[in-house]
Amino acid sequence: MSSWLDYTINGLIVGNVYALVAVGLALIFGVSRLINFAQGSIYLVGAYIGWVAVVQLHTPLPLTIIVVAVVAALVGLIIERFGLRPLQNSVRIAPLLATIGISFVLDQLVMLTFSPNPRALPSQLPDVRFQVGGGTIGPLDLLIAGVGITSAILLFVFLRYSKLGWAVRATAQDRDAAMQMGVDVNRVNQAVFGIAAALGGVSGMLVGMYYNQIDTAMSLQATLKGVVAEVVGGAGNVPGAVVGSLLLGLVESYGVAVFGTSYRNLFAFLLLVVVLVLRPNGLFASARQAPPEPLTGTFIAPSRPVRIPRWALLVAVAAFAVLPFFPVSFYVLQTLINAWLLGMLALSLTLVAGTIGQVSLGHAALLAIGAYTSALLSLTLSVPVGLAIIAGGLMSAALGTALISPSFRLRGHYVSIATLAIGEIVSLVILNWESVTRGPIGISGIPPLSLFGYDLISASSVYWFSFAVMVVLALLQARLLSSHLGRSFRAIRDDDIAARAYGLSLNRYKSLAFIFGGFAAGVSGGIAAHLYSYINHETFNTQQSILALTVVILGGLGNVVGAVVGSVALVGLPELFRIAAEYRILIYGIVLLLLVRFRPQGLLGTI
């Protein structure tokens, strides 16, 4: 029994660690209705500033905290001023993407400055430990708990009793009304970003000390856990974020206790999905809170899509189709194969995110389902590869839609968070379901692509095959969009209340979109599996989901041609920058930022 006490204490300790990130996220969400994916990067920056202060400048702990808080706050102010303020009047998705771009840039700058090797960040507190239960607690555990809880209380007091706090809350409730009442909305935003960044930075430093270890890969995991904790608590609710974090820590700890270590993150993301399904606004969303503003077309930039004449499309398709007859290198062909595979994924995402307005951050899961289905069918049941790929597409369509359907009642950002969680859950199930998926060993020896008994192994045959599949899928989707069904999809995206009033069944239409989209993504995953001959649970990861989202934003949401153009651009750009080696992610991040800033409706516009 005493072990349960230990599991509880451990859960609370790690929950405190999550709280440090979640509080900053909640504050920003409260004011800007923005999930700040750069918060983890500020946490990373804080950890490294802390390292410089402690190891090189030998500052005492209180001074270290102040230095880290001030520098991190400055970073936050810069992000707000130059990264996000210019996007104020742009579509909702723009600042979200901008924070992703900013996180790429920050992570990469830290890595270039400090090298990717992990570093030790010594704790500046005495190493005394108190016996509690079967384990012990040290001063740093208490300090982390103290910082988490104190900052939540201070923030609460600040929001409730200070004038600036009122302004923050007024802005959160109704930005335009606050502006009319003379609130300097920009100053409010600055204050919020400064505070959140200071908290994020200090938390990175404290967590680094707690583990005596910092490295440049720590930011994504921090963001993920912070977002989960914050949304569980009720986005935008500061005390809720603390409770959500502690709950997350406890659920993880008990999950490990009952099922073992490898299930840990599975429980974190399941908790998120369950909470979202039962209480779509999180556990502590107050009843008095104004309902989220109608998200009618919120994500979609108003724009006139660029119409590309039919003859031009035909010429382009023909040109790409005959490309292998010309002396192009296999490297170029392979790069284009990657682009066609990404293109199928982008078609899938542009349909669900663009046409029907369900922004998905977990789309790589559909690839994984298709890839595993196709690989296992052809390998264990000797199903011909062509049929196996189709089966992979069907499985992605069925399973993907079933998994995502609970999120159909969610709105706005919550859909993206739920899909993010579902993506992680699929990956963790693949890792743990060993009897079927072979777990961490992955599947090797997947037969190469073949059609009617002929192996397609040369780069040009794979090229033609993937290009043909993509063109067919694109044509089907274009036909779909111009049909009555496509118009119904767009009606739901633009105004779901009106669409419902008109008699459209939202769930049924969303399911149809995911079924079609799931099929395209599953086929892409299936082809990839046979192309790579080896896959494991990491082959299709969150980065791939983010890349797909970037592609469809770049091309223009819902725009079929745009999805393909975006894929070619985003597969091609990093290859062009290959010469820049360490700098290319940095360049990619900057390109993303510029794109969001100057062409948020995408290159070809939204259909």
């Binding site: 583990y211 005596n212 270890q213 206790a257 270590t261 290198s329 090797s444 080896y534 082959t539 290959r578």
Partner: protein
């Protein structure tokens, strides 16, 4: 300065530069280096390993050049960043196979990235020389896949013998990284340890991003083992050791060679004192090649201590040089040369010779170390 002037000036200087390049091309055509392709992570979550590879490669290349190169020609490499991502490693593979200057490829780091590219290398007939690829199926990709990564079938029984027979641990808890490497290693270890008569009380797999092990360690405590086995890299190994001590576990800890790094000591601090490590190389090894490697490394990198990944890369580059020396610059001849090289001096293996059946090297060195006073030391045979 008028516009025209500026344009002429730029043109002029461009012409000069180009003429210069052309001249140097002509003058040094014979001295063009023999080029190896490297596909590995320089950005992304595994970036640190790519950096360590470079350090090891560069040191080996300095020495190879100083010794007169490969029959008078320099050896060089072209490092393409794959982020250890299969999509990028296949594109890099196509780039390398269609670049006639590349005679041999090294890498990639992770199994998905490496094995996704294998079919391309195999079909094109360019050797894919993986030196961190312990996935049991890597060399089964074809006869152009060769590896100096120590087979876990080789290493884990040695660790099991250290833990069970020498340290006398009878009831073990195994914590392993839940990747293809960790999982394969765990299975070999568990089999060997059972063979030596030990009981496996609990095994726990954790994912690479994990930082918090307290709850895992409570499970371990409840299983009441008398030893903890870590199949970890240095960063997670150090974390587990620290947290084990924090939650009050005092059992003997015994770790796989992959924790062997100065970083393990730095990140683990006092908590890794008395941790036992079975390793493939250690600085006090009196063998001259090891001492030369360490001295050279410290000199080149301002006193930095090399670790296992530096050593793998250094060994791999030396092996590549030995193979190219025999095989010349013909890709197929280089493949055949892998079967011919004998007893190449190696940090990890003493001397390395490939087993033609498995295309791997057998017989990794094994030293039994223990952390004493914050340093790795040869184990003196005394129980901790």
């Amino acid at each position: 300065m008028s516009n025209i002037d500026r344009r002429t000036l730029i043109k002029g200087s461009l012409a000069t530069v180009m003429a210069g390049t052309a001249m140097s091309r002509a003058a040094f055509a014979d001295a063009d280096p023999i080029l190896l392709g490297v596909s590995g992570p320089l950005t992304g979550p595994n970036a640190q390993y790519g950096t360590q590879w470079k350090q090891g490669f560069d040191l080996a290349l300095d020495e190879i050049t100083a010794a007169g190169g490969i029959n008078g020609r320099k050896l060089a490499y072209s490092f393409e960043d794959s982020q250890s991502d299969p999509r990028q490693s296949v594109a890099i593979a196509q780039k390398f196979v269609s670049d006639p200057r590349i005679v041999l490829e090294l890498g990639d780091f992770s199994s998905p990235a490496s094995m996704a590219a294998s079919p391309i290398y195999q079909r094109a007939g360019l050797v894919q020389f993986g030196f961190t690829n312990s996935h049991p199926d890597f060399t089964k990709g074809g006869d152009f896949m060769w590896s100096t990564s120590v087979s876990q079938a080789d290493e884990q029984p040695l660790l099991a013998a250290y833990a069970v027979k020498k340290l006398g641990l009878k009831k073990l808890a195994v914590l392993h990284l839940n990747t293809d490497w960790g999982r394969t290693s765990r299975d070999y270890f568990v089999n060997a340890a059972k063979g030596y008569g030990a009981e496996i009380a609990v095994t726990e797999g954790y994912i690479a991003e994990e930082r918090d092990f307290r709850s895992t360690l409570v499970r371990v405590r409840d299983a009441n083992p008398d030893g903890l086995i870590l199949i970890s890299y240095y960063s997670d190994g150090a974390l587990i050791a620290r947290q084990a001590r924090q939650v009050g576990l005092k059992q003997v800890i015994c770790a796989a060679s992959s924790v062997y790094s100065p970083k393990f000591l730095e990140l683990g601090g006092e908590a890794v004192e008395d941790v036992h490590v079975g390793t493939r190389y250690f600085p006090e090894d009196p063998r001259p090649e090891v001492q030369k490697f360490i001295a050279g490394f410290k000199k080149k990198y301002n006193g930095l201590e090399p670790d296992a990944f530096n050593a793998y890369a250094y060994d791999a580059m030396n092996m590549a040089a030995a193979v190219v020396k025999i095989g010349g610059t013909d890709r197929r001849a280089i493949r055949d040369a892998f079967a011919k090289v004998k007893d190449v001096p190696s940090i990890i293996f003493g001397t390395a010779t490939f087993d033609v059946a498995t295309r791997r090297v057998k017989g990794a060195m094994n030293a039994e170390l223990v952390v004493r006073k914050g340093q790795f030391a040869l184990w003196d045979g005394k129980p901790t």
